[in-house]
């Protein structure tokens, strides 16, 4: 309860902060439009040559792109901003103030920033999902919707843990902004279902940079392609990564308190 309140207040602060710069909103709309154009343009080029990409139809891929936008929006709104802030704080030593508070530090650093305008991407994502499903004449019942939301949440936990581990590296290397670029370029690969990639890349995108669980698996849930094994796998991986991220963070923190000047 107290932690919910802290999330609320923390987000409120961040939003208040962001509302001071309204130009960002316009920039965001422009940026989203551009991303959308690139994503759908890419699809239309691919499907002008074939009507079937390794078992996926054009409309199914529209759903995948929709999930890609939706999840990308959530990551860019909730996860990435706090992680970037954490990197800066470690670099500048301002993390000290967080460590002085009688609240779990990992929790605090994870909910500090929110980028409200990324809602635009989430809305676009939902529209794309709707359009894709309509073109497929697919109906999604309540059960399927629930499974979809579950794997969506699991995917987000996996991505969060992944980000958390990457960011924790800052305790040792101090400057790791380049890692960000790696994640973003990998995430772009998620515009297509990972099953269409060659084996080694599939493996990378599933287990090393777990984009598959964030985008492909939720899309599969909507399209009725999800197997029970994948669902369990996602749950298992989420739990494992959360725990690993936690232990790694605590190790990093010990190193920070041991090394910082």
């Amino acid at each position: 309860m107290r932690y919910l309140r802290l999330i609320g207040l923390s987000f409120k602060m961040s939003i208040l902060n962001e509302l001071q710069y309204r130009a960002n909103f316009v920039v965001q709309i422009f940026q989203t439009a551009l991303e959308l154009l690139v994503a759908l343009g890419g699809l239309s080029i691919v499907y002008s040559h074939t009507s079937d990409l390794n078992g996926w139809s054009a409309s199914e891929l529209v759903v995948v792109v929709g999930v890609y936008f939706l999840i990308g929006g959530v990551i860019n709104m909730l996860i990435q901003p706090s992680m970037i802030r954490l990197m800066e704080d470690v670099h500048q030593g301002t993390l000290d103030f967080t460590l002085l508070k009688p609240v779990d530090a990992q929790f605090m650093v994870s909910v500090r920033e929110v980028r409200l305008w990324k809602l635009v991407n989430m809305i676009v994502g939902c529209v794309l999902i709707g359009v894709g499903l309509a073109r497929l004449n697919a109906s999604v019942d309540a059960g399927q919707a629930l499974v979809f939301l579950t794997v969506l949440a699991l995917g987000l936990l996996i991505v969060y843990s992944f980000w958390m581990m990457l960011t924790t590296c800052a305790f040792w290397f101090t400057r790791i902004e380049n890692i960000l670029v790696i994640f973003e370029s990998m995430y772009e690969a998620g515009r297509y279902p990972v099953r269409i990639y060659p084996g080694w890349l599939q493996f990378t995108l599933t287990f090393l940079v777990p984009i598959a669980f964030a985008v492909t698996v939720p899309a599969e849930a909507l399209l009725g392609r999800l197997t029970a094994e994948t669902l369990l796998g996602a749950a298992g991986l989420a739990a494992l990564m959360l725990i690993t991220a936690r232990l790694f963070w605590q190790r990093g923190l010990r190193h920070y308190s041991g090394a910082s000047a």
Binding site: L9, M13, L16, G93, L100, P102, R254, A261
Partner: protein, 340 residues
């Protein structure tokens, strides 16, 4: 009185990487790093009681900030023990953190683009302060620091002094019993400095809080601290009254002589002590601490003088002398080569 801070043989060693200037040296150091152990704090021991304000003095790099960080739980000591309010700081227990605060004059924790009062609201949730208790503390802080006009202004639009007042208020909302203040008045003008000083004194009296304060402004230290702890190259070299510090580290006093109607020939006075200042109507002589009384008596007997006074050297000068002392024990260790 209750001891709230107990430090025994506290030590902290850093490993620093060294390289020569230039690109070639930078590339070399990517492969092979030369590191050196630096003792930032070396076997320091002291105790502080509730309600005490202690000045923590030392030159830049003497180990003050490192000590404060160890005491507030941000750094693990390399050796020795620290106990604050009965807790071991480095365990960072919530019960410990809710009773201390650390203010760093050179860093701010208030959110830049929103008014301070919004940041305070977040602190209220973080420290789980009941609304009426929070309101009461805030009112008190607003009153003492004169915050009312600045509370609703985004922090980035505040002057340095106003910002610092808000930072301090934000750091005290949970009414900590132990305050670690690292240069709380740095960069502020004299009025703002005085205001913060008066406030700290008042907070200390009202809440019987212990304050450990570092400052480069001796006025802060003189106004607030009866007791000072001096560290020099990581060693504790003095712990005691501020007034005794003068006696221990300076061997002279200044005699100010005001001549009568007839002007005095400074050349004659030179036999009594070193003339350090010569102005119309006033001559200053530096004499050994032990000779001060005798010389004064001789001056009065030998010359037509209207007034004479003995003055202690200003505290800045004392500190300067202390800081200029050579590092006695911390002999440079051999560099250690470490392949990475």
């Amino acid at each position: 009185m209750a001891t709230v801070i107990r430090v025994r043989d506290l030590a902290r060693t850093y490993q620093v990487t060294e390289r020569e200037a230039g690109l070639a040296a930078a590339l070399r150091s990517l492969v092979r790093r030369r590191t050196r152990q630096v003792k930032a704090v070396d076997r320091v021991s002291f105790e502080i009681d509730a309600g005490e304000i202690v000045g923590f003095l030392g030159a830049n790099g003497a180990g003050k900030t490192t000590s404060l960080k160890m005491l507030s739980g941000l750094l693990y000591p390399t050796a020795g023990e620290a106990s604050v309010l009965g807790f071991t700081p480095s365990n960072r227990e919530a019960a410990f953190l809710s009773q201390i605060t650390l203010v760093m004059g050179q860093r701010n924790q208030l959110v830049w683009d929103v008014p301070a009062v919004d940041s305070f609201e977040l602190s209220r949730a973080v420290y789980r302060l009941p609304r009426d208790e929070y309101r009461q503390t805030l009112d008190e802080l607003i009153d003492l620091l004169d915050l009312q006009p600045v509370l609703g202004v985004p922090v980035r639009n505040l002057s340095l002094g106003e910002r610092m007042k808000c930072e301090i208020a934000g750091a005290l909302l949970h009414r900590p019993k132990v305050l670690f203040l690292d240069e709380p008045t740095i960069g502020l003008d004299v009025t703002a400095q005085r205001r913060i000083r008066a406030f700290l004194k008042e907070y200390n009296t009202r809440h019987n809080a212990a304050i450990l304060l570092t400052s480069h402004y001796m006025a802060d230290v003189e106004a607030l601290c009866k007791r000072v702890i001096v560290i020099h190259h990581g060693h504790l070299i003095y712990d005691g009254d501020l007034t005794h510090l003068r006696q221990q580290f300076t061997t002279y006093k200044t005699i100010v002589v005001k001549p009568g109607d007839a002007p005095l020939d400074p050349a004659l006075l030179a036999a009594y002590g070193e003339i350090i200042c010569e102005e119309v109507g006033q001559i200053q002589l530096r004499v050994h601490r032990l000779d001060a009384a005798r010389t004064t008596a001789r001056l009065l007997a030998d010359f037509p003088i209207t007034d004479v006074s003995i003055v202690e050297p200003p505290i800045e000068e004392v500190i300067e002398r202390v800081f200029a002392m050579p590092d006695r024990e911390n002999v440079e260790p051999e560099p250690v080569y470490e392949a990475v």
